[in-house]
Symmetry: C2
Subunit: 144 residues, 2 copies
DNA sequence: TTTAAAGTCTATAGATATAATAGATTAATG
DNA sequence: CATTAATCTATTATATCTATAGACTTTAAA
């Protein structure tokens, strides 16, 4: 399960993708529209900014904006930033690999195979899910 | 990420699948062979027993054994029992559904689609991964 | 140049979940 | 009936997640 932090991040980013051409958006506005605790959102947006996903501007007329194009930001990136590994086991994780304590020799472990496949499929699907696709889908669904 | 509890459960079950025709196996033995804290394993096996995945026998010559055949127990079941939902979002979970607080109307939420697909693929792969397949794979890998 | 608005940063509190342990009880075997 | 091993209840420890508080910094507009 994704953490709340991660869900908040996704929703905030979708909102900012919607406002992509409208300059910086206040934390306050995002928090209200997406029902996210403001102070918590603050920390999340800051993290996304440090990861160069968002840009920010201080002072009056300040706020946050997408630093990358909506077509260049996908769910895989966001989840990795917020929650870490996407794989279900550390021993099959690409970005957060750690050896398993239980299975002595990884080479003969019969469990890893299924989890590698799950990881591959998950990365494929989440990697292909960009902010602009999510936004297009919302527009489509709202149209009905 | 799976919890330790869940990983312990999988390893213990694979071990019991290996000993499928050898009668009850002591907790102590499983704990030692798989390097799992005995008391923690106790709780795990008990839960699997209550879920009718394992059977048990008390007293001398007692222990735990697979109640179902190794081909009938798969990773999907085990994970659901130990960790709950397999889906990454509660609003796309089949067994542990809960509405999302952030998105007001689920019908027009553009985020859910990718996560439904991830869920489907994950269930397919984990559901097909049975204890006997895992065991066969281990024998195969050890053979090389 | 002052002031208000808005992001930045550090610290921490509270809640929840995870992981592990202890001890008393019950059941089966020989 | 004594021994062995599972069962059950309770508790502790640790870690992570979620959220909040408050002081500081930057910017833009009055």
């Amino acid at each position: 399960m994704l953490s709340k932090k991660c869900k908040y991040a996704i929703h905030a980013l979708v909102y900012l993708a919607e406002k992509y051409h409208e300059g910086p958006v206040h934390i306050q506005e995002i928090a209200e529209k997406k029902h996210i605790p403001k102070k918590f959102l603050e920390a999340i947006l800051l993290e996304l900014r440090n990861a160069k996903v968002l840009g920010s501007k201080k002072g009056k007329k300040g706020g946050y904006y997408l630093y990358q194009k909506p077509a260049e930001v996908n769910l895989m990136q966001i989840i990795r930033l917020m929650d870490g590994a996407i794989a279900l086991l550390p021993c099959v994780s690409l970005n957060y690999y750690e050896p398993c304590e239980e299975c002595r020799n990884e080479k003969t472990c019969g469990i890893r195979d299924a989890f590698s496949k799950v990881r591959d499929e998950t990365l494929r699907l989440l990697g292909g899910s960009t902010l602009d696709k999510i936004l297009k889908r919302e527009k489509l669904l709202e149209g009905n």
